[in-house]
């Protein structure tokens, strides 16, 4: 498959502090903020019916726990490899949202990285980055 363009954000999971404390280990039961992992909107029928990326015109392949994706921060070109550990983000809540740096823009939330993964390609204090997501 060719890669896809979208927005990347971050989320916390596993044992944690603050509002994250109740997050749990995610749909796969393996998710931890300190590991290179991510959430994907189509890990199962139940997951897909919640995230509903089609509402934003995004058709995403079914991929299950442990599948590897590589996410590039299109503002800087930095890339990180992660495995699926949870269902998310809830794409349909933010249809049409755009994030840009310079002339590079990304639309629609397609992937959420753990803090360990996101901080490898961006600062955590930026909530959103335009991203390119691929399997290599």
């Amino acid at each position: 498959m060719a890669g896809i363009y979208g927005e990347v954000s971050w989320f916390c999971c596993g044992s944690s502090w603050g509002p994250c404390g109740s997050a749990g280990h995610g749909a796969c039961g393996t998710c931890n903020s300190g590991s290179r992992q991510h959430a994907w909107p189509n890990t199962s029928d139940a997951c897909h019916s919640i995230t509903n990326p089609e509402a934003c015109g995004e058709s995403l392949s079914r991929r299950t726990c442990g599948f590897k994706h590589y996410t590039t921060n299109r503002c800087t070109g930095q890339k990180v490899g992660t495995t699926i550990a949870d269902c998310g983000p809830q794409t349909d809540l933010f249809c049409g949202e755009r994030t840009c740096c310079g002339s590079v823009c990304g639309s629609n939330r397609l992937i959420d990285l753990t803090p360990a993964a996101f901080s490898a390609i961006s600062s955590l204090s930026y909530g959103l980055r335009p991203a390119y997501i691929d399997i290599v």
Binding site: S22, D45, A46, S49, I50, T72, R74, C75, T76, G77, Q78, C100, C101, G102, S103, V104, S123, L124, S125, Y126, Y132
Partner: protein
Amino acid sequence: MLAWIGSVQPLLLGAVLLWSAQAKLFSRYAAAHARRTALAPLLGEDRAVLAYRTLAGVEAVLGAALVLPGLVRLEAVAATALSTGFLGYLAYAKIKDPKASCGCLSAQPIPINGRSFGRAGLMLAGSVLALVSGAAWPGAFAAHPVAGVALLLAEFAAIVVFSPEFDEHWLMPLRRLYARLSHPLASPGAFDVPLESTVDQLHKSSAWRDLARSVTSDVREHWDEADWRVLVYSARYAGATASAVFAVPRLRYDPQAVRAAIVDENGGTLAAVESHAQPEYAV
């Protein structure tokens, strides 16, 4: 008094059960939602969906029977049993899986809280009153038309207040009205440009993109210098630790005016960058 109050309860119970059944049966998210209710950990995911649908069927049949006159006592017994069972389910679910959704009046995920118990308690009270009365509702309405309608309206209002599912139809508009009238977030007086908007502008500049991969930290410090805001990051340049210093227009939006310099630990300028119109990335 108690007799006629009890005899109009089947209308309330029936209407609520019918509403509840249709929400469970016809929402396109129903199956997914069933897996997230407290039924899932109690019964297992697949059986939760089946139980959810079965419950909806029972609610629909009993709801229709309650609204239609006849067999009042039998229906009231069934409604009391269902209400008691539901209250018990809420209590058990709250203890067993406090974060689960109740799966009550709609397919929206809403956690079990005091309002869920308030509504279930109201349903149980209505069922018991109907059981005690045993009379059919048409007679009660004939005898007390105004009081009967007023009582039912008040009870429906209480159900709505106890139901987060209906919040967007009354509570949210009230809160919006409050916000429109009181402007709680208005900020009087001068308000400086937030750092976030400066960082936003920086990220749109070619100077940032040229240097971003050398930057190792988040913003370390920042200050304003006339028309500029200066942002300092740590950077790794030619194998050594340095500072990446960016000057961003403070009060105007002009990413092409952003400038940058790499300054080493002794204060020597290693490189300086001006922004330029930028080509698209290959990726």
